[in-house]
Subunit: 272 residues, 3 copies
Amino acid sequence: MLAKGCHAVDADQLRAARTALRDSAPLVHCLTNTVVQTLTANVLLAVGAAPAMVDAPEEAGEFAAVASAVLVNVGTVHARTAEAMRIAARAAGEVGTPWVLDPVAVGGLRFRTDLAGELVALRPTVVRGNASEVLALAGAGSGGRGVDSTATADDALAAAEELATRTGGVVAVSGEVDVVTDGTRTVRIGGGSVLLTRTTGAGCALGALVAAYVAATGDALGGAVAAHAHVALAAEIAADLADGPGTFAAQWLDALDALDGDALGEADVRTS
Amino acid sequence: MLAKGCHAVDADQLRAARTALRDSAPLVHCLTNTVVQTLTANVLLAVGAAPAMVDAPEEAGEFAAVASAVLVNVGTVHARTAEAMRIAARAAGEVGTPWVLDPVAVGGLRFRTDLAGELVALRPTVVRGNASEVLALAGAGSGGRGVDSTATADDALAAAEELATRTGGVVAVSGEVDVVTDGTRTVRIGGGSVLLTRTTGAGCALGALVAAYVAATGDALGGAVAAHAHVALAAEIAADLADGPGTFAAQWLDALDALDGDALGEADVRTS
Amino acid sequence: MLAKGCHAVDADQLRAARTALRDSAPLVHCLTNTVVQTLTANVLLAVGAAPAMVDAPEEAGEFAAVASAVLVNVGTVHARTAEAMRIAARAAGEVGTPWVLDPVAVGGLRFRTDLAGELVALRPTVVRGNASEVLALAGAGSGGRGVDSTATADDALAAAEELATRTGGVVAVSGEVDVVTDGTRTVRIGGGSVLLTRTTGAGCALGALVAAYVAATGDALGGAVAAHAHVALAAEIAADLADGPGTFAAQWLDALDALDGDALGEADVRTS
């Protein structure tokens, strides 16, 4: 039990997480949607991790078993990649490799909603989505109309806590203020930029960064928080330098690269 | 019948179209090629629309029925995505949702040429391609060698008019001067930049923007013209700021975002 | 037999290769991984070549037979695209069209390693990979953990020479210094920038550029060397202008475009 005033994730942990990420250069096996593969790989390279996209059923299990972490994102899933995702999630679970589920647009479409239900039963280390997706995944809503969401992250807090308790892992809800919970402790991360929502794949790449940080730190809650803080702080720097959504993307990658542990320690992270 | 001097698409309509696009933020369901998905999504986000790429046969019909508009682009089509395209086009037609066909490289390759013939029979709201593709689709040519085209847009005008009459929709032919026709009225859009032809996916993203504008305005001809004018004007701004094709792409997204209705009203649009 | 002091690839050849590339604008048929398709297409467009990504089994042979060159990259291969690759490689071989094999992550994963063995038996004009991949393909190593490699290019020289002798073609090994060999002559290319390794798809796009230059020059060794030199020199220019990996990518495309034959003639190319 946490003492009053105790911080679930404090500045020292954030600083240490950044160092651990650079030192360990985790190999993140991404089974993700084809719209965001390039940005996801570039975000992982920018922060010092190593990306690999392998989504053939013939290879997904073999690769998940040797990767540092696995990302499963159902954004453009179809029959073949769904099978690869099931295999990779099972392989990760068997060897104790952390894996992240990003339930893109779950709730609104039956095929992926059924698949996401199967994947949740395999107990992802972290679920990362927007409020509509987390509400739908927890059985508390009907989902949004795609990757956007009209609910705030806090609207999904109860659903996130329930889902975290069910998986034994962590659930992260993205929004203007991000909410990350393990079912008991809740951390909120502020900052960021609206330009993240105007860059396709920024949220999906955040899911990959969560996988990388959890692998580097061995801490699902702390790793997920560090990833959200890293993305938010880099977005603020990039927004200052950008003239619009096109120039923002390049500046964001530069800022993700440059951001060090001291800077990450200054993130707007509040535990409750 | 149009009176002499009447403008099929005038400056007031262009200004109103830009406002309608921002206000309605149409959800564009893109079944498009994997080379251009990222740029297409970012172009839609830049102008204020919402992209969603869903190309599993299990989901394509369900999603097309709730989207504001659908784009079908056969650039990297194969058996599974061809099936998803047939399903999405039929679903859009059944509920009266506008949909755009982009017949990339049709004419030169039998599989996609047969598919495009099937799709044309489903009467796309707008067909958008280059001159070679439109000539091939109308049965008047053998197609180009891929996404490029040596014919001018006006070389394909008769074929475009015939095709528009057959589908009951609009046909847009991209070129140094773009030509858009509903079989009766013809609108030409000048301007733009040669750097658009050196950015992979610029033409494909234009197809998605046509879908967005047609959904926002409820006007196939006016929406298609507004999309072409928006792309052309933003390209001119970006070309002035860019040092080459790499820096152009980011500047183009910034300019697509910034361009407002008053600017769009100044586009080089001529009706005949 | 080469006389002492003879240069396998000299500055005049490099200058002529750049001119030939611009003049012939070769159509490069890319069967490549979905992470890097966009960058690959943009690199080909930047240098003056024409990209086309066609990876349906129904179309791959028909298109390979009319393309100027073919690229086969197994980065995200699965059953359908593997079949398209076999068909395209056979079609290219039958009509004498040059084709390049990029054995991404071969060695570590059985499915693609078996496929790469089949493709090598079809005698690619050029094999381009990192040291781990070339060692694995030659049967001399177990591969790396993905697209990265801890061995230097020269560590793989003996394997590359053996492989080149077996295929009757050229083998190019990327590293801090690149090594290109036809089994008899060896050329080393220096320069470049570490930022290339932090840009997803830079190596894969290099494979496409090798295909373009071999088509333009009709010279497997000289074309492969010119492609490596072009990439390295443009990277140096871009690294000077960039603030990080995000801004680097755009600057690199600009520099690939701007680099002319005189600049290419100044590349750090050494024959032994």
